[in-house]
Symmetry: C2
Subunit: 345 residues, 2 copies
DNA sequence: ATGAAAGCGCTAACAG
DNA sequence: CTGTTAGCGCTTTCAT
């Protein structure tokens, strides 16, 4: 292996102008296709660009340009390696690229300090707008950023302050529907396993669960409710404990991805996977390949991302209409595990 | 809902200077903690910053600063929503954030035109360096970008040109190991199902398969080799056809994620999942939850990402050492499907 | 159709 | 310790 070449200084419009024998302004006009330049001049400039390997400097241009736009969007999620987050990012990126806008991506890990730091980094780069999955807790930093005028769309969790667009899914309604379906299959002992209650979606799904119970005329039972579970193993332990309790449920509503997997693991280990019904919130790969295939509430994550991107891009273009709170419907994908009936009493 | 506030003009150092009654240079010093400023002056400046809600403009500063660094890294992958790509991105982001460097992310969809376009966008923003999963085909655009002096690290696929760092995994060696293990369990009819041969990794894995056969003293057989499969369904059809052929294999080596899933589906449908051995390249969620659990070759994607980030960040710092070709070992995760023996003849 | 001068927000180099 | 001047690469404005 040989030495890695050192960074060279890039040619500027000045260099092009000198080589083409025109003024720097003419170069600018040619490069931005603004017309009003003689054919031969255009040709000479293009040749010089080729010869020197010139590439426009967007940061310098946006500094002076009237719109001051950086053609860059900030996207802040919990964790870029999460399937939900990465699918969302991809959808935003795809939409943004249509307008030749690039995406600065960051993970805030549901941590307010990290979120503040990342917000500052994005602001320092003068992104044209932001798509943010808000960390749990007070949204002061987001609101402050917003008050600077930065177009911002919140995804997955709504803003607690005004004048700001958001895109969320039907957490509560779909959870309610899942529980109602379990009830309609004859279940009367339906448990809910959920994630951190500090996260808005967890709360909503829990509320939906309770509403579903009520609508089916079923009693709630504290023994059948377990929140703040973190990770597959914690979920598995909670499910095991519940099944060993004095009032074991016959159906489970797992309000989050990893919790669903934890529940599957326990049911599989005990050989009860065809006996205990299971509906999970959020789809996951291979949910249809296991036995029984897992019934889930599926969010339309790409649509959430596209909607968020459309909103923020429109705001950047100056759309002054009232703030929107878009709700993307989730649907119940029936695959088997949620259509198991309880054993006869 | 009320009107969304319009973008306001941000205060500049000039405004701070005016309010604090100092020169703009003093403001610069205070904001960049360069010292050499009286305590009361510092205080006045800080107050003005607070009062006006001033935030530094990194693009403007990097335009003039000696190092010209934008504190931004470009990351170009196939598809940001792929698990491999998003885990990689996350690892790079994490490393970059330690140096307060942000990440501009893009998907090139293994398409040379899109890749060129994205490369140009990154270059226009003067990223300090790039981490690139090269699209299949000629790497002229990458090489040209490289020749401009941009620090660049290729991941997952090596460069076909010189003086450029790369980070890859043991595609060939691990494939060979997988095949050798199948042979050691008594299999003599081992098939290989692979993805697009235009992709370097597919070729390497196929070569590893052939080497593994040879080392085990087994004959290769064209009927047992099927490449250029795209997607779960195509893979499933190919596996089905193979099993229906005149020389059905007793073991399968599937060289890519989705192909593994396609194979699983067929084996499951035919009730042969405990009869035909299966080893897949690349781990996937729930591989340990299905029956039988799937034996896979697992890449250490986070380590690949961290290594790539470390390399490019070091180059940005000026590291002049010879180009590195880092190889991150993949390991065989034995879960059951790859440890099935062939039926007695 | 082309160019000169000014300036975007900031930092470098040098004075005082 | 603090300020002045120049200039990063580009676009704006206005002149020719």
């Amino acid at each position: 292996m040989t030495q890695v070449p050192a960074r060279r200084t890039e040619p500027t419009m000045r260099d092009i102008a000198a080589l083409a024998g025109v003024s720097i302004k003419t170069v600018s006009r040619v490069i931005n296709d603004q017309g009003g330049a003689g054919a031969d001049v255009v040709h000479r400039v293009r040749e010089a660009v080729q010869a020197l390997g010139y590439r426009p400097n967007l940061t310098a241009s946006s500094l002076r340009r009237a719109d001051r736009l950086s053609a860059t969007l900030g996207v802040l999620v919990d964790d870029l390696s999460n399937p939900f987050d990465s699918v969302l990012l991809r959808a935003v990126e795809e939409r943004a690229q249509r307008d030749r806008v690039l995406v600065l991506a960051g993970s805030a890990e549901d941590n307010l300090d990290l979120q503040r730091e990342r917000l500052g980094s994005l602001a320092a780069r003068r992104v044209d707008g932001m798509v943010v999955m808000a960390a749990s807790g007070p949204q002061d930093d987001l609101q402050q950023e917003r008050s600077h005028g930065t177009p911002m769309v919140l995804v997955d969790r709504p803003p607690t302050f005004g004048h700001t667009d958001s895109v969320i899914t039907t957490n509560r309604e779909s959870s309610r529907e899942a529980v109602r379906q379990l009830a309609s299959y004859g279940h009367r002992h339906i448990a809910c396993l959920g994630g951190r209650q500090s996260i808005w979606t967890s709360q909503e799904r829990r509320t939906g669960y309770l509403e579903g119970l009520a609508e089916a005329g079923l009693q709630r039972h504290d023994e059948w409710m377990c929140m703040d579970l973190k990770g597959v193993d914690a979920a598995a332990r909670a499910v095991a404990a519940m099944l060993d309790g004095t009032h074991p449920p016959t159906a489970l509503f797992t309000a989050q991805n990893l919790i669903t997997v934890g529940a599957m693991r326990v049911l599989q280990a005990r050989g009860w996977k065809h006996r205990i019904a299971l509906i999970g919130f959020d789809d996951f790969p291979l949910a249809d390949m296991v036995d029984p295939a897992i019934t889930v509430v599926r969010q339309d994550v790409p649509l959430i991302g596209r909607t968020a991107a459309d909103l923020v891009l429109a705001r950047i273009q100056g759309d002054p209409s009232p703030a929107v709170r878009a709700v993307i419907p989730a649907d119940l994908v029936r695959r088997g595990s949620g259509e198991l009936r309880p054993p006869p009493a």
